[in-house]
Subunit: 243 residues, 2 copies
């Protein structure tokens, strides 16, 4: 009954570079395939079908064996990213990892809700703002939250929202999402315009300018309950993969 | 009965650049005076007696009035830093701020324990590693924790440890502290060697190198429960003051 997962890459341990778990050591399992095509996607190699040849169909035992090897058999946080990891059958991997003390975080845009979200330790919902050129289906985002909060009595999940911001319109979108979901911590992330293929020429000053603007923008609004962060790995390592 | 607080600067709102509250909007109240003289102190203007002329003796009402002005009367996180804020009488300020919905975080080296630590919302204890050339008095660090956890029934405090790391000896010190206090989240921060007076020539590549080393070091040890962060404000703005 084992279903395979499309895997783009498994790497780490490194530290999580963004969001609520920033700075935490983690192994990334990046799945291949996405139902979105964000204008500024920085991981098209895990999105576009023409990269399928670089992906591997792996079952949960194979994936977890690699996670254990990389982590030296010591339990840690596993981050499920993509692409959109929510379109993969990941429940077996989570169940297997939990047996060995590993914890699981996922980041997904909230367009596909899975019952197994309730098994996660951390769920980051990252609906895409207007600059992405994608359309948010709010009822699906809502379904993700409903599913994730339907946990077993002995299990706790931390849910947060993260929104990438490039401009004023994106900012207005983030404010709207925060109003809809006041109970969940919100993270704003300054966007990175650098095309991923130009890792060495990363636009650090553009990123820092947008970060500055974003901080000033939230403060001007007295929006003090939000958390504003850059992508640390971009500042540290540019767009390099596998670090 | 009002006792005055030695204030070096009050500024913000900006975002917290380090530790557990990284990215959170906050107003900083930096007090003047310190019982330590860390070799790499980046805020000597709030430490050395020869800067006393730049500090202001303010009472709690005056400080809080300035915090309210800066925050546009909207409650937010107030970060008490220094110098060593623990040598100041800050209980009145905390009490006053709480009445208006403001929350309070402090960062202190753990050399002076105050009963009012129990009133704080966040306590970051940041004992100084060997590279600082200071000597840790462990019984005082312990006393800080005992005091901080002696809270009123309706009040919760979050305690964490933060250690600045420059070298292998500092790293060993951090491991020792983590062993003594496994219950508290620990944050490792890559050190910044740049002398504060040379804000424009900040040694970004040195900071990034130490950050890389620190990540690799913790991962080589399978120390996955720790959080490794840079000083975000240094990466974003160098050693500039007041941002
Ligand atoms: S949802 Fe994420 S992975 Fe998919 S296209 Fe958008 S940015 Fe890329
Ligand atoms: S404890 Fe902090 S403020 Fe005091 S000398 Fe050391 S680094 Fe500077």
């Amino acid at each position: 009954h084992t279903r395979t997962v499309m895997v783009s890459e498994i790497f780490g341990p490194t530290i999580q570079g963004e969001g609520a778990l920033i700075g935490k050591p983690t192994v990334f399992v990046r799945t291949g395939g996405c139902d979105y095509r964000c204008s500024w996607c920085d991981s098209l190699y895990a999105v576009l079908p023409e990269h399928k040849g670089e992906w591997q169909a792996m079952d949960s035992a194979q994936i977890f064996a690699e996670v254990r090897r990389l982590s030296g058999d010591t339990p840690l946080l596993v981050t499920l990213s993509g692409g959109n990891p929510a379109i993969q059958p990941l429940e077996e991997l989570i169940e297997l990892g939990h047996q060995y003390g590993y914890t699981f975080a996922i980041e997904t845009q909230g367009s596909v809700a899975q019952p197994w979200f309730a098994m996660l330790d951390y769920l980051t919902l990252s609906p895409k703002p207007p600059s992405s050129k994608q359309v948010t289906r709010w009822e699906r985002l809502e379904r993700c939250i409903v599913n994730a909060t339907n946990t077993q009595p002995n299990h706790e999940i931390q849910i947060c929202l993260k929104i990438v911001i490039f401009n004023e319109e994106d900012y207005a979108y983030a404010r709207y999402v925060a109003e809809q979901y006041p109970a969940f911590p919100m993270y704003l992330q300054a966007g990175n315009h650098t095309p991923p293929q130009t890792a060495d020429k990363i636009d650090i000053s553009g990123i820092l300018d947008r970060m500055d603007w974003l901080i000033q923008r939230t403060i001007a609004d007295h929006w003090y309950g939000v958390t504003v962060l850059p992508q640390l790995h971009t500042l540290l390592w540019g767009n390099k993969r596998g670090v």
